[in-house]
């Protein structure tokens, strides 16, 4: 059974991330955040839940239930929206890069 989950755990580890949304210049107002999935690399595309964008919608949440609205372009949110995505070392590192990320360590030639 444990083997059964190996590939899924690795896939989840690599794809998992958190997304936070905040207002420019209002860090103290806090942020909204949720989980997400890294869909592709270079360019990095991420899919996350839309709930954290509601406070930024120019037309308010009513835009989400407007008849026929299946998608809304990025500029349906205000210009003060700031987004950040964060993930763990497994998602970042092809083999070795995470090591590179540790300042202060090196492999001296001997």
């Amino acid at each position: 059974m444990a083997r059964q989950w190996g590939p899924s755990m690795r896939a989840a580890e690599k794809a998992g991330c958190v997304v936070s949304a905040s207002r420019a210049g209002q860090a103290e107002a806090g942020s909204w955040s949720c989980s997400g999935v890294i869909l592709s690399r270079c360019p990095d595309l991420v899919l996350c839940h839309g709930g954290i964008f509601t406070p930024f919608l120019r037309a308010g949440s009513a835009a989400l239930t407007a008849a026929g609205a299946a998608f809304l372009p990025g500029d349906s949110c205000g210009d003060d929206l700031r987004l950040h995505v964060q993930w763990g070392p497994a998602a970042a590192s092809p083999a070795g890069r995470a090591e590179r990320g540790r300042p202060g360590l090196c492999t001296p030639q001997c």
Partner: protein, 460 residues
């Protein structure tokens, strides 16, 4: 999470990558998801359902709750601002799709799933990032999926993966906590990934040339390896539950012979009453039957037996278990939660207790989520598919009125087996009637009373 997970994939507390700035490309929703959501949770049912995604200690205003409900089935596609260093270092094989996506319908009900999300989002990613939770696909209505993997606020948008196809993304979390009539249901609402990414591809194509090329970068759906059936049938027992309707009352049941269905007395209380039995799709036959036996109110065993007017075809007949193993993986199949609006739900857990009188098992308890409407449904061994028992109830705290779905009680099938066998072979109900004269200790157990260690002495 099940105890069988392998060694931890990563030691916690290692350095997180620094947050990367991103831009919103588009907000998208899956029309089919919204249509099924409106059908199952809208209209008259809307009053009963609530999907909380605020942090537990947040007071949520009515307006905010309305915003959350409106945004429930929406997702966001983001593009990260390029990091030249990363671009340069990335080898060719690291570019492109980062996950594989399971086609819609490739994962049948009852299939184990792995949810991966970060409770409370970016609140404390060092500790909570990519927390795993395991469960099964409990139900599906188009791209609207439900799992009993436990998820918490903040995991919205997190990925849900299948073991087969290995590591494929099946869905994203929509609402980690579902409340029906103010009771936590113990199921997480999901949106299937494949239709969502198709919607994203279509939207990117319509947004303009700049984003058109991005559509090609979205992950493809996993093909089905040659020679395998297009659709994994899933565990056969997942289709064994039937819906039982007796007058205005309905519940669940299980066929133990082509013309014999067992359910609960409180679902079909009156002997000779006419009952309608519906098998689950795709062979959803509807057959009339008659209650041939129902225990007395005084019996500890809440059981009824229905004889059908014709054979029930296409419904797997389970092997009746003879032994019970505490701790074994089990599944409950029943029409709780959605009743007739949807096929039966499958929930998973373990056999948490086998209560015995002497050496005889008289009650089974599980950690599966059991809801009103699941009564009479089958309890299976997830490993063997053997029928272990008939679900009779979950638990309600009489003081607070709270219901506990994950503590529930089933009648061991070994209690029913002799009577069922005799009735099937001879048509004689005598064996089943013995359930009405069960011994006092059995009654004490089913009244959830403490067994008397010794008979109270008379004070005369």
């Amino acid at each position: 999470a099940g105890p069988e997970l392998g060694p931890p994939a990563r030691p916690r507390g290692r350095l997180m990558e620094p947050p990367r700035p991103a831009e919103l490309l588009l907000l998208l929703s899956c029309p089919a998801f919204r249509a099924h959501f409106a059908r199952l949770f809208g209209g008259e049912a809307a009053e009963q359902w609530r999907f909380a995604s605020a942090a537990p200690d947040d007071e949520v205003s009515e307006e905010e709750e309305e915003d959350q409900l409106r945004a429930l089935g929406w997702f966001a596609l983001l593009r990260l601002r390029p990091d030249p260093e990363e671009e340069e270092a990335a080898a060719e094989e690291e570019r492109g799709p980062a996950v594989a996506v399971a086609p819609l319908g490739a994962v049948p009900k009852g299939t184990p799933l792995l949810a991966c999300g970060s409770p409370f989002g970016a609140f404390c990613p060092d500790i909570f990032l990519n927390t795993l939770s395991r469960g099964v696909l409990s139900n599906a209505a188009g791209p609207l999926l439900l799992t009993d993997a436990r998820c918490l606020p903040g995991t919205e948008g997190g990925g849900v993966f299948a073991a087969r196809p290995a590591g494929a993304l099946v869905a994203l979390v929509v609402a980690p906590l579902c409340w029906k009539a103010r009771e936590w249901v113990g199921l997480t609402l999901l949106c299937a990934a494949a239709p969502l990414l198709r919607a994203a591809r279509a939207a990117l194509g319509r947004l303009g040339p700049g984003t058109h090329a991005l559509a090609a970068l979205l992950p493809p759906e996993v093909g089905v390896p040659w020679g395998l059936p297009l659709r994994d049938p899933g565990p056969p027992w997942a289709a064994a539950a039937v819906l039982v309707e007796c007058g205005t009352v309905w519940g669940s049941g299980v066929a133990v012979a082509p013309r014999l269905v067992v359910t609960c007395r409180h679902v079909a209380p009156r002997e000779a009453a006419r009952v309608l039995v519906r098998a689950t799709p795709p062979k959803s036959a509807t057959i009339w039957g008659r209650v041939v036996f129902a225990t007395q109110e005084t019996s500890p065993y809440d059981i009824a037996v229905v004889s059908l007017d014709e054979d029930l075809h296409g419904v797997p007949l389970p092997v009746l278990a003879e032994r019970f193993h505490e701790g074994e993986a089990v599944s409950v199949v029943g029409f709780g939660v959605f009743g007739q609006a949807c096929g039966p739900s499958v929930t998973s857990g373990i056999l948490s207790a086998v209560v015995r009188v002497g050496d005889t098992p008289v009650m089974l308890q599980t950690t599966c989520a059991v809801h009103g409407g699941s009564s009479g449904g089958p309890l299976f061994s997830s490993r063997t598919g053997d029928l272990l028992g008939i679900v009779a109830s979950n638990t309600r705290d009489n003081d607070t009125g709270a219901t506990y779905p994950h503590l529930n009680f089933s009648v061991p099938i070994t209690v029913l087996q002799p009577g069922l066998r005799r009735y099937r072979q001879t048509g004689d109900l005598g064996g089943l009637r013995e359930l009405d004269s069960a011994a006092e200790p059995e009654k004490v157990v089913w009244r959830l009373q403490r067994p008397l260690t010794e008979a109270p002495r008379s004070k005369l």
